[in-house]
């Protein structure tokens, strides 16, 4: 658990972070979102003491961080950043092994951990362990960055716009990867981004920051339903809010299940895990008011009507 109590940071006369209080519960994925210069990165970097806070208190599991040795503290916290920051003179395996080596693990345990993480991030060890960072694509490098952050098996993961420099398709697949890993490992994650869609997709809780202050913090659903200020509403995309909200819900929640076992569907169909936004898009494209819903094997399990979409409840 991470607690920030009335924390401020000023650089000389300018105040970057202004009296914020925030609690990130264990196993929560908390996303700090805001425009550039709003203090979200500074907030993140204060948690592992890369930046010293000037007022207030930051606690990790009840212990104030200024009472800990900064290097020991950082080795306990995973850290992944936008430009990746992989060490170009080391192989992928050596890069991932940085924190375990700093922690003084024995060599066999490090080797095993590196293999484990390469496997977890879908980077076959035989192919990738010996590669150098400049031989990787952007997406592969970012996977290594995430693997490196996880290497010391930290409770807490800090991620500073880790997917910011990637193309939309790679970013999307890495976001899914992060959700999958999080479901498996249940770390406490603080994630910084300026992309509200990314925040809505990943977060258990979204913290919106503006000019060094927290404007609103809530679940994605609640934030969409009740934006506190015009700034938050603007960040949420104004008129496209409806679509964004639809993007958070799955087809499975609103479909009409079949009573009898269904048949294989040929032609346009939705999957249970698709979002309502995708369902609406497909209906617009096919110019129809209902679509069959199929499972992983392509066998029909239900029907989705446009009426259910509009009412927000199954028919």
């Amino acid at each position: 658990m991470i607690e920030l109590l009335n924390v401020s940071k000023s650089f000389g006369p300018s105040v970057a972070v202004d009296d914020i209080s925030l609690t990130v519960k264990a196993a929560e994925l908390c996303v700090l979102v805001g425009t550039s210069g709003c203090g979200k990165s500074t907030t993140l970097r204060m948690i592992n003491r890369l930046i010293a806070h000037t007022a207030g208190q930051i606690r990790i599991d009840g212990q104030a961080i200024d009472q800990l040795d900064p290097h020991t503290l950082r080795r306990r916290i995973g850290y992944a950043i936008q430009s990746i920051g992989l060490f170009p003179h080391w192989t992928v395996a050596r890069n991932i092994a940085v924190v375990p080596r700093l922690l003084g693990w024995p060599a066999p345990r490090i080797a095993q951990r590196v293999d484990e993480l390469l496997h977890l991030l879908d980077l076959p060890a035989a192919e990738f362990a010996g590669k150098y960072p400049n031989q990787l694509s952007g997406g592969q490098a970012q996977r290594v960055g995430v693997a490196r952050a996880l290497a010391g098996d930290p409770e807490i993961l800090l991620m500073d716009e880790p997917f910011g420099a990637l193309d939309p398709i790679t970013r999307d697949s890495l976001q899914n990867e992060l959700l999958r890993i999080q479901a498996q490992l249940r770390k406490t994650i603080v994630f910084v981004t300026h992309d509200m869609d990314e925040a809505l997709k990943l977060a258990n809780r979204i913290v919106v920051m503006e000019k060094g202050r927290i404007v609103q913090q809530d679940t994605p659903q609640a934030l969409l339903a009740r934006p506190a200020t015009a700034f938050v509403e603007n960040l949420l995309g104004g008129q496209e809010r409806g679509l964004k909200q639809a993007g958070l819900q799955r087809v499975a929640a609103l479909m009409q299940p079949l009573n009898a076992p269904g048949l294989r569907v040929v032609g346009p169909a939705l999957k249970t895990a698709d979002s309502l936004r995708q369902a609406l898009s497909l209906m617009l494209w096919q110019r129809c008011t209902s679509l069959p819903v199929v499972d992983e094997q392509g066998v029909q399990v239900g029907v989705l009507h446009v009426d259910s979409l509009l009412r927000g409840a199954p028919q």
């Binding site: 890369l50 080795r75 920051g85 992989l86 060490f87 170009p88 003179h89 924190v99 400049n134 031989q135």
Partner: protein
Amino acid sequence: MRLRPVNRVIPVLVLMALALLWSLDFVSIQANRIVPGSSLGLVAAVGMRWALGLSGVLALCGLLAAYVRRPPYGVLLALLCLLLAQLPLSLAWVGEQHITAELAHARVGIGAGFWGLLFLLGLLSIELQQRVRLHRAGLLGIGLGLLLLTLGVAHLGGLEPLALMREYQSRRQQFSSALYSHLGLVAAAVGVSLLLGAGLALLINRFPAIQRSCMGLLSVIQTIPSLALFGLLIAPLSYLSAQFPLLQQFGVRGIGWAPALLALIAYSLLPIVRNIGVALQAVEPSVIDAAHGMGMSPRQVFFQVRLPLALPVIIEGVRVTTLQAIGLTAVAALIGAGGFGTFIFQGLGQAAMDLIVLGALPILLMALLADSLFSLLAAHYRGVPAP
């Protein structure tokens, strides 16, 4: 047969080599050191068979490169090695043919045709190195092999009649002492300025305010002509050694190695400090940030991340400095610092070309050797394969 040549560089070099070989003097024969020599063309020097064989191999190289669809660059490299290897042998052959027992003091001077051929074969080897994608170490190996072959032929007495060798024979002692003092001065200058430069660069890194004045001062020193700086140091050093007898015991005087070393260090500092400074600054900030974020101590960040990433550029600086020092040490001979410059200035005074070459050739070889060794080292530490 295609009319457009596949590779244009090699045939052009070959044509130039053939033209030089057949039009310029290959060697000249002098009865003794004083009288002007008589020039010999290629055929007169080595005989028709050798001349035709040499020209034939050259022409073969040109044709293979120009008119084979995918030129066999490996074969061409082997032919090049053959051509290079025959160079010292041809000189030995000339001696065998032309220097008879009754001409005991006669000497063979190397002519423009020979030097031209050597130069063009050098260019050819660079072209071939790129085509074959030969590692730099391979080129260095060929060069060292050629050097060893030449030394071997010389050791067996094959090059005895060469004017160059005759000059060397009468100066064996001076030659080895020149070698040691030249190498010693260069090594000391580069070593000391590396230590001083590293300290200075770290100081500038810590206190950026002094950067402008430091770099300004070093740049000003760089603009002083070397001869003037050597001269300027004579007065203060003779004063010091007159004041402190202890210094005199160590050999510190107004002339000799002391002013030379000081001047060399002063010249070496700028490239060293600049390269170390630039190298340490140029490390990607996000990499440094990540290193701190992983929990490395400042020491670990410096020794595990910043220094290894800066090392290739630092070695590059040492390479430039070493080459500069090798050249400047030749000038330092004028203030009595020894080294191969001594032969050059003696040769200039006596209008003895061979003596000048005896001084210049080792300097050239040292520079080439230092250049390729440091380049290899930098490439090794760069280490990361291309994407």
